[in-house]
């Protein structure tokens, strides 16, 4: 096991005190540490938003890109060097608005990356607008009369797209979240982890207290059963123990890198590029 300190970034997080992202930073570091993944062999690709500032705060290779585009960057990195542990990390606004098509297709391809979303149901960095997961009726900065759009269900989306690992975590429950992330990283294929993450500044409703009351950890569920996973993903409410957390779906299916004619044979980073010779021009004679 590599010491947790090895993953500590030189910059301290600028998140609000109490932000759910702190727990995720710790859980990700813990997962990498327990899986013995060296800092130089891990890459975090992030988008734009509060949570996406993560790569600065963790001592692995980081790519802090554009809003909504962390998944294609992560795919490019993974396909260039399959030996790397590639984690996509961003928020719900980032991933479920502008990033939806990338999310869908990465899940469909079953590319071997882990995509973690800090889902706080609000736009934090732009100071509190409705996000794709904001509940209907919620009053936010840009929905003064209440949000009229039904929320996006990221777990349903991942499942129907073809993700082979789908889980819901909870910020604050670090040990359990770290275990989910560990399983996600170890899973061969596209792993999606939606992390319920309180925004202490712009979402006063879905708070730590709210989630302590409403969530519970699933036990003895059949992670090979798509419909059971779909059902667990559907469960949501204000009542005690109405929101399940944990690994809902975990199946094996061929990954993109094994199906691709080139990637299945080569790790491109370690492969000398093809040397073009005169004989290669013969087909144009």
């Amino acid at each position: 096991m590599i010491a947790m300190d090895e993953y500590k970034g030189k910059v301290s997080p600028d998140w609000c005190p109490g932000c759910g992202n702190y727990s995720q930073l710790r859980a990700i570091s813990m997962a990498l540490s327990e899986l013995n993944i060296k800092p130089e062999d891990a890459v975090i690709s992030s988008g734009i938003g509060c949570s996406s500032n993560m790569p600065e705060y963790i001592n692995v290779y980081g790519f802090h890109g554009l809003h909504g585009r962390l998944v294609p960057v992560a795919e490019g990195i993974k396909w260039a060097n399959k030996n790397l542990t590639v984690i996509g990390y961003g928020g719900d606004g980032d991933g479920f608005f502008e990033g939806t098509q990338h999310f869908y297709h990465a899940a469909k391809r079953n590319v071997d990356i882990t995509y973690i979303v800090s889902d706080n149901q609000v736009f934090g960095l732009t100071t509190g607008q409705a996000s794709p997961t904001t509940p209907i009726g919620r009053i936010t900065k840009d929905t003064p009369d209440g949000n009229i759009e039904p929320p996006f269900n990221p777990l349903h989306y991942a499942l129907t797209a073809g993700a082979t690992f789908v889980a819901r975590g909870l910020s604050g429950n670090i040990k359990s979240l770290a275990n989910i992330i560990k399983a996600g990283i170890q899973h061969k294929g596209f792993s999606f982890i939606d992390v319920l993450s309180p925004c202490v500044t712009y979402n006063k409703i879905n708070s730590y207290d709210f989630f302590r009351k409403t969530t519970y950890e699933v036990k003895d569920n059949n992670t090979k059963d798509f419909y059971e996973a779909f059902k667990l993903s559907s469960m949501w409410g204000d009542a005690p123990q109405s929101i399940p957390t944990g690994i809902f779906y975990d199946v094996q299916s061929p990954i993109y890198e094994d199906a691709d004619v080139v990637l299945s044979k080569y790790n491109l980073k370690d492969t000398k590029p093809y040397q073009l010779t005169e004989s290669d021009l013969e087909e144009f004679y």
Binding site: K10, K38, A42, E56, G76, L276, D280, L281
Partner: protein
């Protein structure tokens, strides 16, 4: 120039293009230098299309003016290409022989300067096979006879083309031979050019970019299909296994460019490509490549816009978009090859520049360049320049170190002790964001200047600007991209009439070489571009504060030499060569 221009006219679905390719291949195998021109529409069936091959015993620089031989596959084609009111974007009407099926095509106006050589193409073809495209083979056999060519070369080409469809080989050879004999028995040889036997490769602009990328060690290509960039994508689709190049057709162009950036960040040479519409979607990430200092090669094959525009036509209308792509000021390099050989060489150059300067480099093409074929000879010599790389565990490593030439050492994932954050936000030397926590105007200034200094370094290392016959020129034509060949030929023609004109050929288009200025003093400057507004023209005026005359063409077709000579002569001596 002792040349022959042959055109095949018909509709989509008539096999115009495949016949044109067979013709080009046979001519090239015989030792002719060739170049082709493809006129088509975004259609699967119908409409009108034509394919032109120009062949000579000298290097052919463009599609040429004049028309010696027409294969008319339809009545419409015969009428169009013989008409005195021909309206094909500058292409000449027929002034030679028309080969057509006179049992099928009977209703047309006859012109005195055209020889009508009817051949029962269909009846001959039916003797061998019911495939309707076989009549094209009969016609091509006749063309070989009209040029007094050795039939065996065409026979060999047929064998190779139909090698995977065994039964059709004999049918095609039989039909071609009968077309060849029919012509010999009934008509005179049209023209016979003696050519040396030489080995020439016949390569299209898109293939040249693909081969250049392979030669440069590219291992990954990310794209979304869009004409006319798709010829590169198609090249990689066909050669992925052989060259072990990873090809990814992504969900959109935004994914394509972000994926290519991810791959380059991880230390593997990767490229993305599109046409103007797809590239418009990529623009935000162009700035990200520059901000994170991740090398990137972007292939942009222009077609006429705006919006969907003319999908199968040519234009040079995206220069403004490329120069302006992305928010903010950032360093980038724009290269614009002028022909197929330059497309190959400049693609290779682009990959080294991208790594050396750690920024986005554009290779700009257009439909004409991307989809026409030339006989070429490529130089495969190449040294990969990976630029500055950090040594593992270097305690002093600063990924974005402020250096004199603007270039900092780079590390890639997997390298020990060199972890850093590549950030799209403004950052300091270590990659730490300066806007959120540290908010430091001084650091912003230093980081901005560090990145922009790379362009000063690049300009100092630029090769001299290419020129053509500038020694005693009084008139200077300035061009970029695929108009190179047609402009050179127009200049030759004007010079033969005593007009002292030369050209500046700007292939390293941005940032621009300052040496151009010395060619502009006391000269009359004419800027020629395949667009409406004169996008390079404005840049020239802005950079060098000179008066210019702009000539634009924006009808979807390339310039044709006679057309351009006419326009140039009109400007220079005030009268056209031809009556309009």
């Amino acid at each position: 120039m002792n040349d022959i221009i042959i055109r095949i006219g018909g509709s989509a679905g008539d096999g115009v293009q495949s016949s044109g390719l067979s013709l080009a291949k046979t001519l090239s195998r015989s030792g002719y230098y060739i170049t082709t021109y493809n006129y088509y529409q975004s259609l699967i069936r119908g409409g009108q299309s034509w394919y032109q091959v120009r062949a000579s015993d000298e290097v052919v620089k463009n599609q040429g003016s004049g028309l010696d031989i027409l294969i008319a596959l339809t009545e419409d084609a015969l009428k169009r290409h013989t008409s005195k009111n021909i309206n094909e974007g500058g292409a000449s009407r027929l002034n030679g022989i028309a080969i057509f099926d006179d049992s099928m095509i009977t209703n047309y106006e006859k012109y005195d300067d055209v020889k009508y050589y009817g051949i029962p193409l269909r009846d001959i073809a039916l003797k061998y096979n019911s495939n309707p495209l076989l009549k094209n083979t009969v016609a091509l056999g006749a063309v070989m006879a009209s040029l007094d060519m050795d039939f065996s070369i065409y026979e060999q080409v047929i064998k190779e083309i139909f090698s995977h469809k065994g039964k059709l080989i004999d049918a095609n050879i039989g039909a071609a031979k009968e077309g060849y004999e029919y012509y010999k028995n009934n008509y005179k040889i049209y023209k016979s050019i003696k050519v040396e036997k030489r080995k020439l490769f016949m390569i299209g602009g898109g293939e040249a970019v693909g081969l250049g990328a392979i030669n440069a060690g590219m291992q990954m290509y990310f794209a979304y299909p869009m004409t006319p960039a798709s010829s590169v994508l198609q090249f990689f689709a066909e050669h992925s296994k052989k060259f072990h190049v990873f090809l990814k057709i992504t969900e959109d162009e935004i994914s394509a460019i972000n994926g290519a950036i991810g791959a380059n960040y991880a230390g593997v040479r990767a490229m993305t490509g599109s046409s103007g519409g797809g590239f418009a979607l990529m623009t935000e990430a162009v700035g990200m490549s520059s901000m994170t200092e991740v090398p990137l090669v972007i292939y942009e094959a222009q077609r006429p816009g705006p919006s969907t525009g003319l999908p199968t036509k040519t234009e040079q209308g995206d220069l403004n978009q490329i120069l302006g792509a992305g928010q903010g000021d950032f360093p980038k390099i724009v290269l614009a090859p002028g022909n197929v050989t330059e497309a190959f060489n400049m693609t290779k150059e682009a990959f080294n520049l991208a790594e050396k300067y750690q920024l986005p480099v554009f290779v700009v093409s257009d439909l004409y360049l991307a989809e026409h074929i030339e006989t070429v000879d490529f130089d495969l010599k190449y040294e990969m320049d990976h630029g500055l790389r950090a040594q593992e565990n270097d305690p002093n490593f600063k990924r974005y170190e402020y250096t004199e030439n603007g270039i900092s050492k780079r590390s890639v994932p997997g390298q020990k002790g060199l972890m850093h954050n590549a950030d799209s936000d403004e950052h300091n030397e270590l990659g730490e964001v300066v806007s959120d926590v540290i908010t430091d105007p001084e650091l912003r200034r230093l980081s901005m200047e560090k990145r922009m200094r790379k362009l000063d370094t690049y300009i100092k290392n630029l090769p001299p600007t290419k020129t053509y016959k500038m020694e005693d020129a009084e008139y200077v034509v300035i061009q970029w991209g695929s108009t190179k060949g047609v402009i050179e030929e127009s200049i030759d023609s004007l010079r033969s009439e005593g007009i002292k004109v030369g050209a500046i050929e700007i292939d390293h288009i941005y940032p621009m070489n300052h040496d151009i200025e010395k060619y502009l003093k006391n000269k009359k400057i004419i800027v020629i571009e395949n667009n409406f507004s004169g996008q390079l023209n404005k840049l020239i005026k802005q950079e060098f504060l000179v008066d210019t005359k702009f000539i634009g063409k924006y009808d979807g077709e390339a310039f044709f030499p006679e057309q351009l000579e006419n326009i140039l002569k009109n400007i220079i001596v005030g009268k056209p060569i031809l009556e309009e």
